[in-house]
Amino acid sequence: MRRALRQRAERRQLMTAEPYVLGELRRLRARVPQLTGALAASVDGLVLAQDTGEVEPEGVAALTAAALGVAVRLSDATGRGGFRELLVRGEHGYVATYAAGGAAVLTLLAEPRVNVGRLHLEGRRSGARIAELVDGALERPDLTP
């Protein structure tokens, strides 16, 4: 019960960063026009901010959390250290997930013709910025109602 309450409080704190994170996602989509969607989620699968167009964000956030669980274990089990990023290439484009601090991840959807080199550069940079925003929100519990 106490754990559930703490999680709920944490979630509320995370959500205070939402407008700033959404701003970051919008700027990222402007910088990389081949992006078809961008979403920031907590590592346990809750949407923090999203700009995904037609794709349903809750589903993507939940699947990201599931893929992240496997990726973290795979990286750890093979001695590659903490999770940094995950890239999936489908027939019709890419799905990339980047670490954004310890509490959040950034998932990007891109067209097949995207410049993957640039996707990585911008994704990593944006992940670091979102990490600052999210960690900042977690450190300011007094701001939550």
Partner: protein
């Protein structure tokens, strides 16, 4: 015939004023190999950025209806030359060599000639 690593090593040692070189896949924007560079010239950033340059030129030529290929692209900065040379030949489609040169030390005509030779001998 040289592999990617040998070709890049040759480009940065044989060509006067070379600062760094990379072999880039412009379908993905990722480097297949890179040598030199350092903190003043991040070759990963250069690979991704110059992929956009090459793609823009390819698209422009399509729009102009030019039935031709790009041989190379020269970008002249205040203190550097950047040379982009697209690979020709079998199995090498969608790749380019990128070479950054110090303007004061480089001989542009010679560098272009040498890069052409390195490219022709490169087997990916």
């Amino acid at each position: 015939m040289a592999n990617a690593e040998t070709a890049l090593k040759e480009a940065t040692t044989v060509i006067d004023g070379a600062l760094g070189a990379a072999l880039v896949d412009y379908t993905s924007g990722m480097a297949l190999g890179a040598i030199g560079g350092g903190k003043d010239l991040d070759l990963t950033v250069a690979a991704a950025g110059n992929t956009d340059v090459v793609r823009a030129k390819v698209r422009t030529m399509e729009m102009l209806g030019l039935q031709d290929d790009i041989e190379d692209i020269l970008i002249t900065l205040g203190t550097q030359y950047h040379l982009i040379r697209l690979l020709k030949g079998r199995g090498a489609n969608g790749l380019f060599l990128y070479l950054a040169l110090d303007k004061n030390r480089a001989n542009l005509a010679m560098a272009r000639h040498q890069l052409k030779k390195i490219e022709s001998e490169l087997e990916v």
